[in-house]
C-alpha cells in the first residue's frame, strides 16, 4: 500500500468516529429554524451553522432543572469513583495478600457478575432497591454499582505485581495490615488506583437505564437522562438545545479526565487484553 492511500484510509477511519461528534458540536451553535431551513438540500450549511449563535447555550442554562441535574451527575461521578476505588482497593488487597479458604472462588464469583448486564437484571434490581426503601434517592442510584468487578480485577492485578518482599519488609518494620496497605502497597499502585477512579468517574456519564428506572423525581435526575427527554425522534426535536445541554454535561467529565489522565500509563489501558 502506498503512502497516499494508507493516509487516506487512516483519515477516513478517524473521520467516521470524529465527524458525528463534530457535527453535534456544530449543531449546538445553530439556531433551530436555521437548521431546518438548510436541511432540505445538501450544502455546506447542512452541516455547519451559517450564523453561529450561543442562543442554544443560553436556553440550556435557563432550563429550570438542568444545573441541579448536572450537579447530580457530577456528584454521582465523584461518589461512584471514590466508592469504587476504595472498595476495590480493600477487596483487591484481601484477595491478593490474604490466604483464606475459597479465595479464588470468591474472586471468580466477583468476576462472574460481569456477565449480568443491567439491561437484563433491571426489574429485580429495582425490587431490591424498593425493598430497601431507596427508590428516588441518591443512594438508591449509587449503591448498586459501587461494587465493580472490573475495579477489583484491576486493583488485584496491580497488587499482584507489587513484590511480596515489600510487605514482609514493612511488617518486619512493625507495620500492621493497614500500614502495609497504606505504606508499602498503595504508593506502588497509585497509577492503577487513579485509573480505577477515573474509569468509574467517566462511567457515570454512561448511565441511563438505572436512573431512568430508579429515580422519578425531576430534580434528583441525572442531566443526561433529563436531556434525553428533549428528544422526540418522530417529531421535530430542538437539537441545538439538546447538544448545548449535552456539551455542558460532558464538560466536567472532560476537565477531570484532562487533569488526571497524565497519571495513567498506557499499560493500564491495555492490560485488559491479556
Amino acid at each position: 500500500m502506498n503512502r497516499f492511500s494508507s493516509l487516506t484510509l487512516r483519515f477516513l477511519l478517524a473521520a467516521i468516529f470524529v465527524a458525528p461528534i463534530l457535527l453535534a458540536l456544530a449543531a449546538s451553535f445553530r439556531d433551530n429554524s436555521e437548521m431546518y431551513r438548510h436541511a432540505g438540500s445538501l450544502s455546506f450549511w447542512t452541516f455547519l451553522p451559517s450564523e453561529p449563535t450561543l442562543d442554544a447555550y443560553r436556553r440550556a442554562i435557563a432550563l429550570p432543572r438542568l444545573p441541579m441535574q448536572l450537579f447530580n451527575t457530577v456528584l454521582l461521578g465523584f461518589v461512584m469513583a471514590t466508592g469504587t476505588a476504595v472498595s476495590s482497593l480493600l477487596a483487591g488487597y484481601a484477595l491478593s495478600r490474604f490466604r483464606f479458604r475459597g479465595r479464588e472462588a470468591l474472586f471468580l464469583l466477583m468476576l462472574f457478575t460481569l456477565f449480568i448486564p443491567v439491561d437484563v437484571i433491571l426489574p429485580p434490581l429495582f425490587f431490591v432497591i424498593r425493598d430497601l426503601g431507596l427508590i428516588d434517592s441518591f443512594w438508591g442510584l449509587a449503591l448498586p454499582f459501587i461494587f465493580s468487578p472490573v475495579g477489583v480485577y484491576l486493583i488485584r492485578q496491580a497488587i499482584e505485581e507489587v513484590p511480596r518482599e515489600l510487605d514482609h519488609a514493612a511488617s518486619l518494620d512493625g507495620a500492621g495490615l493497614w500500614e502495609v496497605l497504606r505504606t508499602a502497597i498503595l504508593p506502588n499502585i497509585r497509577g492503577a488506583v487513579i485509573a480505577c477512579w477515573l474509569m468509574h468517574f467517566v462511567f457515570v456519564w454512561e448511565w441511563y437505564l438505572w436512573p431512568l428506572t430508579a429515580m422519578r423525581r425531576d430534580d434528583g435526575q441525572l442531566a443526561q437522562v433529563a436531556i434525553a427527554g428533549l428528544i422526540d425522534p418522530l417529531r421535530s426535536t430542538d437539537y441545538a438545545l439538546v447538544f448545548a445541554a449535552a456539551i455542558l454535561t460532558i464538560v466536567p467529565a472532560f476537565i477531570v479526565f484532562a487533569l488526571l489522565q497524565r497519571f495513567l500509563t498506557s499499560s493500564q489501558a491495555t492490560t485488559g487484553g491479556k
Binding site: L9, P20, L42, A94, R101, F115, V225, I231, Y239, G272
Partner: protein
C-alpha cells in the same frame, strides 16, 4: 455427666472443622467487607429476588398474591412476542460480534505501528466511549434524523431517496446495531492491539524467513496467535450486544412494528409499564441464562490450547 469427653470431643472437632473452613477469613473479612456486602446486596440478591419473584403472581400494586410455580416461565416462553424478542437479541449478537471483530481487527492491523499519527487515530476510534452512551445516542438521533439529519441530506444530495430511519424496519435495526458497533469497535481494537503487541517480533521474522508471504504470515501466524484476544473480544462484544437497550428505549421504543422489540426491551416494558413482576423476572432469568449459555459456548469453541512459555 455422661460421656463428657466424647461430647466435648465432638464439639471440638466440629469447631475445628468450621475453623478450618473459615481459616484466614478473620482479617480478610475486614477488608472484603464493603465489596462483599455490595456484592451480596446488589448482585446476588437481585438474582435470588428474580428467582423468587418469577415463581409468584402479583397484583398491579406489586403485592405478591399467589405462588405460580413455573407458570411465568411457561407463559413467557410460549409468548410469540417474547420468542421474537429472544431471537432478535440473539440475531443482534450474531450480526454485531463478527462485524465488530472484523472492523476492530482491521483497525488494529492498520494502526499497530507505534507512530504519532497512529496514536492520534487510535484515540479518535476510542473517543465515542468518552461521551457516554446517552450522548452518543443523541448524536446518532441527530445524524439519522429524517428531516435535519446529515445522512439523509447526503443521500438526497447524491440522488438517493431519503430514508425514514426510525419508522422503517430494517433501517431502524441498522441504526441501533450501527450505533452499538460504532461505539464499541474501539474496545475490540484495543484488545487486538494488545494481542498484536504480545506476539514476539521474532516469530513473525522466523515465519518470513521460513517462506511465508504476507497472506501466509497473516493466516498461519498472526491470526492463530491472536486466539486469546479473539476469545476476549468475542465475549466482550457478546456482552455488549445484550446491552443495546438504551437506543431502543430512547429512540425506537421497540418499533417500528416490532423490528427492535428486543427481549431486554420487553422485560423493561413488562416490569415498568405493565407491572407484571412475575413474568418480567422470569424473562430476566431466561435472558440471563441464554446469555450465559451463549458465552459458555463461545468460550468452548474458542478455547486456546497453547501458551507462549
Amino acid at each position: 455427666m455422661p460421656h463428657p469427653t466424647a461430647a466435648s470431643g465432638r464439639d471440638i472437632s466440629r469447631r475445628n472443622r468450621s475453623a478450618a473452613f473459615l481459616e484466614g477469613w478473620g482479617p480478610a473479612l475486614v477488608f472484603l467487607c464493603p465489596a462483599l456486602v455490595m456484592l451480596c446486596l446488589f448482585k446476588l440478591w437481585p438474582i435470588a429476588e428474580a428467582i423468587h419473584t418469577s415463581t409468584g403472581t402479583f397484583d398491579p400494586g406489586g403485592q405478591r398474591i399467589d405462588t405460580a410455580g413455573f407458570d411465568n416461565f411457561g407463559f413467557a416462553l410460549s409468548d410469540s412476542r417474547f420468542q421474537w424478542g429472544l431471537w432478535l437479541s440473539l440475531a443482534a449478537a450474531i450480526v454485531k460480534v463478527p462485524v465488530q471483530l472484523a472492523l476492530g481487527l482491521a483497525a488494529a492491523l492498520m494502526l499497530r505501528a507505534n507512530t504519532g499519527g497512529n496514536a492520534l487515530v487510535r484515540a479518535m476510534v476510542i473517543s465515542p466511549m468518552f461521551f457516554g452512551l446517552p450522548v452518543t445516542t443523541f448524536v446518532f438521533a441527530y445524524l439519522f434524523d429524517a428531516n435535519v439529519g446529515a445522512i439523509n441530506a447526503i443521500l438526497s444530495g447524491i440522488g438517493l431517496p431519503r430514508v425514514a430511519w426510525l419508522s422503517t424496519e430494517a433501517p431502524a435495526q441498522l441504526l441501533v446495531l450501527g450505533l452499538s458497533v460504532w461505539r464499541d469497535v474501539g474496545v475490540t481494537m484495543l484488545v487486538f492491539l494488545a494481542g498484536l503487541s504480545a506476539i514476539p517480533p521474532q516469530i513473525a521474522a522466523a515465519a518470513r524467513l521460513d517462506g511465508a508471504g504476507p497472506l501466509a504470515l497473516f493466516f498461519t501466524i498472526t491470526l492463530p496467535l491472536l486466539a486469546r484476544s479473539f476469545q476476549f473480544a468475542v465475549v466482550l462484544a457478546t456482552l455488549a450486544s445484550f446491552q443495546i437497550l438504551v437506543p431502543v428505549l430512547m429512540l425506537t421504543k421497540g418499533g417500528p412494528t416490532g423490528a427492535t422489540d428486543l427481549a431486554s426491551f420487553q422485560i423493561y416494558e413488562t416490569a415498568f409499564s405493565y407491572f407484571d413482576l412475575g413474568t418480567a423476572s422470569s424473562m430476566s432469568l431466561l435472558l440471563l441464562v441464554g446469555l450465559i449459555v451463549v458465552i459458555a459456548l463461545e468460550l468452548r469453541w474458542l478455547a486456546v490450547k497453547w501458551t507462549y512459555e
